[in-house]
């Protein structure tokens, strides 16, 4: 890739300038990672930094838009609920409040991922997104549990008259709003199209699989994520985990609104079948929870330092072994800091007489081009 090589040259120039500055004694290991450079390191690539900040800005705007919108809807519902003295509307408003809390958490993590790495957080703050997404998903679970509990409550206090029409109306309102949000959020997924590329077939398969695996819903957004620019699928992925959490919130809301609509319609027609409320809450809550499962699996994998699922570690190992000059490889670890940022470390036994710099460069190129792993540490023995 031409622009990769151009940036290698630029990075080496940078390195020569940085060295005298760095070798003054310093007490703590406070190397800001973007000024340190060893050949090609994605932490320090200038173009990657601006790409990332652009994505961050985009996801931040989307999340803030969501928050503002939901706050407005919440205000409307609170006013309406106080005026009509309806408990259902107030609980819906409380529900929206937890959604806003989830978005807010995502927004904070997007902001935090821009912070520079410190000596205590040597990998930067990108992992925070994963924890924030975990928190968001926990909130969704909490809301579902609360809804089930409320449904049980309504069943137990049987003397309540349930107004089916009101239920239906509120649910329909919520449904429309959530649908609008889904379409708005979902619209962004199609932006990162690049023209189809023929010589990345091998990992096109990986990325398509990963992308589908990562989305929480059966896709009608099955656009191909092949790319001419190698960082573009990474771009789409980095965008995803923050927005994915928000997306899941909205999806869960949507599904539950559908459930309440159905229950409201049934109760409106046949006012005696109150059990339908509980049943539909249970069913639709489980459906909503199931949509969060793929994301939970991803988060779990990242937090467990597991090999990312779109990388076949056997192929990687045999690929590295196949490079000229590599005799053997052991202690290979590949893991993700967050979705899209992969780190590799390994020990390579080199054949005697091979220049280690050259070998390093070759292995590094291989990992970057084929697997999009940018943070690589290789010990040559």
């Amino acid at each position: 890739m031409e622009h990769d090589e151009a940036s290698i040259l630029r990075a080496e120039d940078q390195k020569k300038i940085e060295m005298p500055m760095v070798s003054e004694g310093n007490d703590v290991i406070s190397m800001p990672l973007d000024s340190e450079c060893c050949s090609v390191c994605a932490f320090s690539k200038q173009e990657n930094a601006t790409l990332e900040s652009k994505q961050r800005w985009m996801s931040a705007t989307k999340l803030s838009g969501l928050i503002v919108f939901y706050l407005m809807v919440m205000l409307v519902e609170i006013i309406g609920g106080v005026k009509s003295n309806s408990l259902a509307v107030m609980t819906d408003a409380a529900h929206l409040l937890t959604d806003v809390a989830g978005f807010f958490i995502s927004l904070i993590t997007v902001w935090a991922s821009a912070w520079k790495a410190t000596s205590y957080q040597s990998f930067g703050f990108n992992r925070l997104e994963v924890l924030g997404a975990l928190l968001s998903v926990q909130l969704i679970w909490l809301i579902s549990a609360l809804l089930i509990y409320e449904a049980l409550d309504r069943i137990l206090h049987k003397n309540k008259e349930v107004n089916g029409l009101l239920m239906f109306e509120i649910a329909a309102f919520g449904f429309i709003i959530n649908l609008v949000m889904v379409l708005w959020l979902g619209h962004d997924h199609t932006h990162h199209h690049a023209c189809g590329d023929t010589d990345h077939q091998q990992h096109h398969h990986h990325h398509h699989h990963h992308h589908d695996h990562e989305r929480g819903k059966p896709c009608d957004l099955t656009e191909e994520e092949t790319s001419l620019v190698p960082s573009s699928p990474a771009k789409a992925k980095i965008l995803n985990i923050n927005l994915q959490g928000a997306y899941l919130h909205v999806m869960a809301d949507l599904i539950q609104s559908v459930g309440v609509m159905i229950a409201g319609a049934v109760i409106w027609i046949k006012p005696k079948w109150l059990i339908v409320d509980l049943l539909s809450t249970l069913v639709f809550s489980t459906i909503a929870l199931c949509t969060t499962l793929p994301m939970l699996r991803d988060i779990f994998g990242i937090l467990m330092e597991r090999t990312p699922s779109d990388i076949n570690i056997d192929m990687l190992e045999s690929g590295i072994k196949g490079i000229n000059g590599v005799q053997n490889i052991h202690d290979l670890h590949v893991w993700a800091i967050t979705v899209g940022k992969l780190v590799l470390s390994c020990h390579v036994v080199a054949e005697p007489g091979v220049s280690s710099n050259e070998l390093l460069g070759k292995i590094r190129d291989y990992c970057q081009k084929t697997y999009k792993i940018h943070h690589i540490t290789i010990q040559i023995e």
Binding site: V22, C38, S122, N328, D331, T377, I380
Partner: protein, 403 residues
């Protein structure tokens, strides 16, 4: 993937019990520094940095006895030897199929391990079964008699049980050997379960605060009275749990072994539950005494207490999961090592020194060196490895760029 031990300098198998040469785990900072300066081998490099040092395993074996202090657990150090829970760990299956396959298998494996498990796991199992029995009884009674308070309590207990089951599962499953997909092994499961426990406790404290607010606004004080029986039973069950895990009943805990966090979180969980029950009982008693805002006060107190209890655990677990620098190793030690490496005659510069804790007690690091051209790597590598090995960092990957 062969585990080629050709350059496993100072290495043990990745799954053997870690040598407890981390004397830095003292709760007292001055002890920590003192312990560090007592390391005899620390002065060696100044003599002759080029001679490779021989691994001194005998030294390592002695360490566990030296590293005891009052906060250590009374479980013998060799106890957590890794079982022969061997699955076909090196089959290269497709990841999706392996996931489905491994869920069922892991459940079966967990049962097997539970039967042969250690003391703590059995205790946890007893506690979980007690809790499950109790919460189903409460749920059934609540549904039949129509008391919503019992049902909500039962829900809360069920959540707690689910979490404790996850902790148990983590204890059992984390003994598996590392395989292709989980190259670092499964020990992080314990941290995850500790984190989820801490999260749950935080949620609980928030919900108690909300409940206190609710009671303050609405002033409905009757519905606590008939919860006395359930609160007392709950308290008893949880106190049994605290007794089981009494070694971990501290707020500020120093984590030395991977399972420390898990056990600590379980202990805090039952402790918080018992505090909550005690608070409810206290509130009822005060109400019967006629104190008006007793409920608000007690709930608020309980919520505050649980929050304070959980925060250190939450921060520590979060730090491990966020890959922060290992708290056991003081940064002065790391920078000392840094300076020593830099002062080596062949090394121009050290960059990208990143250390993170996989689980408490197992630190992984990676380092990048700029070395003078045409120098032989091996002595430098051995030197660097030995330096960091004294700090307890065994998994180190050192990349040397020749300039």
């Amino acid at each position: 993937m062969e585990k080629n031990k050709s350059f496993k300098y100072y290495s043990q198998e990745p799954d053997s019990p870690h040598p407890w040469n981390t004397d830095f785990g003292f709760a007292n900072a001055s002890d920590r520094r003192y312990a560090f300066s007592r390391q005899p081998s620390f002065h060696q490099p100044q003599r002759d940095p080029i001679t490779p040092m021989t691994p001194n395993f005998s030294n390592d074996c002695m360490k566990p006895f030296l590293s005891r202090n009052v906060s250590s657990i009374d479980i013998p150090p060799g106890f957590y030897s890794y079982d022969q829970v061997k699955e076909g760990s090196f089959e290269a299956k497709g990841s999706a199929a392996e996931d489905k396959f491994s869920v069922l298998e892991s459940v079966l494996r967990v049962f097997r391990v539970l039967r042969t498990g250690n003391r703590q796991m059995k205790r946890l199992l007893i506690m979980i079964s007690l809790n499950v029995a109790y919460s189903t009884a409460e749920l059934v009674i609540g549904l039949f008699t129509g008391r919503i308070g019992l049902v909500s309590d039962a829900f809360h207990l069920t959540f707690g049980c689910g979490l404790l089951t996850f902790s148990l599962f983590a204890m059992a499953a984390s003994r598996r050997k590392p395989d292709h997909i989980y190259t670092y092994g499964y020990q992080r499961l314990e941290e995850l379960s500790a984190f989820t426990n801490a999260l749950f406790l935080l949620f609980m404290s928030f919900s108690l605060a909300v409940e206190a607010l609710h009671a303050f606004i609405q002033d409905e004080s009757e519905h606590k009275h008939y919860l006395i029986v359930s609160a007392v039973t709950n308290l008893l069950v949880n106190l049994i749990g605290v007794w089981f895990f009494r070694n971990y009943a501290r707020i500020f805990f120093v984590y030395r072994k991977p399972e420390d966090m898990n056990f600590h979180s379980v202990c805090l969980h039952v402790l918080a539950d018992s505090i909550r029950s005690a608070g409810l009982i206290l509130a009822s008693w005060f109400l019967s005494l006629g104190v008006n805002n007793a409920e608000v006060l007690c709930l608020g107190l309980v919520s505050g207490a649980v929050f304070m209890l959980v925060m250190p655990l939450f921060k520590a677990t979060g730090g491990v999961l966020l890959q922060m620098a290992p708290p056991n190793i003081p940064s002065s030690a790391l920078s000392k090592c840094w300076r020593q490496v830099t002062s080596h005659e062949d090394v121009i510069e050290v960059s990208q020194a990143r250390f993170w804790e996989l689980v408490p007690g197992h630190v992984v690091g990676s380092l990048s060196l700029q070395v003078k051209k045409e120098m032989d790597d091996r002595p430098i590598l051995e030197y660097v490895h030995s330096l960091y090995h004294e700090l307890g960092i065994h998994d180190l990957t050192v990349q040397s760029d020749h300039v």
